[in-house]
């Protein structure tokens, strides 16, 4: 298996961040009070990652992958909204781990580890919000599908 280039890994992350920004916008509308605030905070964090990844790709001479006009993220109610939030973070985790393990550039590897850590913590926070009992809130290997 050939190693994917850094640009390919960053594009995959950017594509996932586009989906996360869109998804959080939809799911946030299904939440209220502190949960809605948490969704907005998470959405902002993903926007920041999206913008950073976009800048990195441009610096590499790449055309950053564009967002799609919409994503399939139906969230009829609160439970589905929270479940989507967890899934979005779990999906991001796979891409961040791919970057950490796929690059040999130390700065990008550190970025991958930081991204994986952030998303794992965020996923755990959403599981707490869902009311998952404490033993099930964290996972052993974030980013391993």
């Amino acid at each position: 298996m050939t190693a994917r280039t850094d640009a390919v890994l960053l594009q995959a992350l950017l594509a996932a961040e586009h989906a996360a920004v869109f998804g959080y916008g939809v799911l946030g509308a299904r939440l209220a009070g502190p949960q809605r605030l948490a969704a907005q905070t998470a959405e902002n964090a993903h926007r920041a990652r999206r913008d950073d990844l976009t800048a990195r790709l441009r610096a590499l001479g790449q055309t950053p992958v564009a967002t799609r006009p919409s994503y399939d993220v139906a969230t009829p109610g609160q439970a589905e909204a929270l479940a989507l939030a967890v899934r979005l973070e779990e999906g991001m985790a796979v891409r961040w781990r791919d970057l950490a393990g796929g690059t040999v550039d130390k700065e990008l590897r550190a970025l991958g580890i930081a991204g994986l850590t952030e998303t794992a913590v965020q996923a755990a926070q959403w599981r707490l919000t869902q009311g998952v009992p404490a033993p099930g809130v964290t996972v052993g290997l974030p980013g391993v599908g």
Binding site: A93, A100, A134, G140, L141, G143
Partner: protein, 168 residues
């Protein structure tokens, strides 16, 4: 690891004479994964101690301990079969470990009564700090590591960064 055979002159070699031939360089990831495994074992020991002192929180402490056993197993698989043994948890629960426990038999659970809130808070603080320190060390060691080990260490760092959330 050098073997005796590696030190023997190779027949048919010309030029400089019958000195030992250079061997393949030692795997630089071997000490890194060993260090990471040692960090995980130390955490497992801390959770074993916490389980003995606070059996009312067995579900949570065992779950976190099991995640560290998972970490050890992931390190083993990327290290390619280095023999490590995951210590068996007190109370005989199944873990990801193989073979006999590497730690001595656990002492009997405390009969001194339930933990006070202060004692539990102190335990949480200690465990959370240990998790953070391990996460930082894994993240640091991941930077120069080979790809496969880097991916594992990244997951370990991320997992351990999340553990303090439930140590409250």
């Amino acid at each position: 690891m050098l073997t005796a055979a590696a030190l023997l002159p190779i027949a048919g070699c010309t030029g400089r004479g019958a000195g030992p031939q250079p061997t393949a360089p030692p795997d630089p990831d071997a000490p890194r994964s060993a260090a990471a495994a040692a960090r995980e074992r130390a955490l497992i020991t801390q959770y074993d101690q916490a389980l003995l002192a606070d059996p009312t929180r067995a579900a949570l402490l065992r779950a976190l301990r099991d995640q560290h056993a998972q970490h050890l197993a992931a390190l083993e698989s990327v290290a390619g079969g280095t023999t490590t043994r995951t210590p068996a948890a007190p109370g005989g629960s199944a873990t990801a470990g193989t073979g006999s426990p590497a730690t001595p038999p656990a002492p009997a659970p405390s009969t001194a009564g339930p933990l006070s809130l202060a004692e539990r808070a102190a335990t949480n603080a200690r465990l959370a700090q240990a998790e953070r320190e391990a996460a930082a060390a894994h993240a640091r060691d991941a930077l120069p590591a080979g790809r496969a080990l880097a991916a594992v260490l990244a997951s370990l760092a991320a997992s351990e960064s999340s553990h303090p959330l439930v140590l409250t």
